[in-house]
Subunit: 270 residues, 2 copies
């Protein structure tokens, strides 16, 4: 059970958790923050996933089963005042539960050893909300893993964690490889590397009709504003564009990824 | 050309434009605000689209062709100080161009008279960013029109306008019908009404394989958090769910819409 309520932002445990809002501290501690009951449930389901749990008295009344499960797992539960929670949480309306979680990412070799059929690569994705939404979509589409290259946002960024809606905890995430080496590793693992870009030579429909999407595939998605750099495109097996039938100039990154990943899911299950 | 620079927020023209941040004033004046060079270009392309243009001296230097085009079209151009622009614009980094635009929505009858093959209906969509992203996706997928029911967000909301990335200007938008009557009107126009909902009886793949998506279709998308109400589902011809292959609980509204609309675009073009 939680002991007495911590009311000071200067409490060492609170200070240590607050620092995890910054990437450099997350990397050093290999820990990140995730808010809300769903995140606590997901973290509890992974051995070593939940490291520490901050709660408010009110949230303890609302979610006694989660507090009990954390206790049972030997996870320290720290009750804090509403003000301290508001400072710790990165949302406007904190839900009274803040999980300190251990990093979840796996080495690329582990992710590729499982003979994946559908891998999602975020290359140069800078917006954490977009990255989290793509992660959620990749999970929904049945992707085997998601790779964040060194030029992409940190998957443990608070906005990315929130936008992933729990999916960060669901499938293997790989962090930090450079794209050049990664493309070679993906190909060695038997994956066809498809870069999604508005400047692609073939449309997604042509790729479907040609049977290309039925193969084990790694989809590469680029930057929100300027797509993928020439250098990245050169390392892909094919550059595919989602067709634009109307007058829109482009698709939002996360929606383009959804169309591509679901096209693969369908083609691979046909 | 723009006359002397307006530096006061109390200038009547500035006050009138500022009020358009509120829905009630937009409705009364049948005008809305759109920021940036792309919006100005789009509004200029529509007769009566651009009503008034606020600029900064800096933006005039950067976009002389837009100022000239507005002048030529007889649109009043008002130069304002950076501070006034910052107050008028709803973004953190205003681009120095703010268009006062005339409402663009058309009556439902007009939209249906054109024998549409693909209509997008936003029923109960409350998040303006999501609504704008769906509008952009509908445009990209070649939808003939987008209908915002009375229970949805205002399409002229600043966040919706921005997220639509110009698409608000591209295809007919219908505003305000109640869903019950709307469903009947859509069916009368020969459209099959498909509601997208996680609780659907048939998957999207079954709908594709069964030939359902090749028909003229109106897709209905619901609320971000709780989907579509029972009452709305009852008025649809079919309730379709996007399959979840992994462990995600659901898809983000805009990504689910992208998958459905692109599936229709492909089926109708096969």
């Amino acid at each position: 059970m939680a002991g007495r309520e911590l009311t000071s932002l200067r409490s060492p445990r609170v200070k240590a958790a607050r620092r995890l809002a910054k990437r450099a501290f997350r990397r050093r501690e290999r820990r990140f923050l995730a808010e809300g009951p769903q995140a606590v449930r997901e973290a509890l389901a992974i051995p070593g996933g939940l490291v520490e749990l901050f709660t408010t008295a009110e949230a303890e009344t609302r979610h006694p089963e989660l507090i009990a499960a954390a206790d049972q797992a030997g996870v320290p539960v720290l009750r804090v005042s509403g003000e301290v929670m508001a400072e710790l949480a990165q949302t406007v309306t904190p839900q009274g539960l803040l999980a300190v979680c251990g990093f979840l990412d796996v080495p690329l070799g582990d992710a590729l050893a499982a003979s994946p059929k559908l891998v999602t690569v975020l290359a140069h994705v800078r917006d954490p909300g977009n990255a989290g939404t793509v992660l959620r979509t990749a999970d929904a589409a049945g992707a085997d893993s998601v790779v964040f290259t060194d030029a992409s946002v940190d998957p443990y960024n608070g906005k990315c964690v929130r936008a992933s809606a729990g999916s960060l905890f669901h499938l293997p995430v790989v962090m930090g490889p450079r794209f050049e080496g990664l493309a070679a590793d993906l190909k060695s693992a038997g994956l066809t590397v498809l870069a999604a870009d508005g400047a692609g030579d073939r449309t997604l429909d042509e790729a479907i009709d040609g049977g290309l999407l039925a193969r084990p595939t790694a989809w590469v998605f680029g930057n929100e504003a300027w797509g993928l750099p020439e250098e990245t495109l050169r390392h892909a097996d094919e550059v595919i564009r989602v067709p634009i039938y109307g007058r829109a100039e482009s698709l939002n990154l996360a929606t383009a990824a959804a169309v591509c990943l679901y096209a693969s899911a369908r083609a691979q299950r046909a």
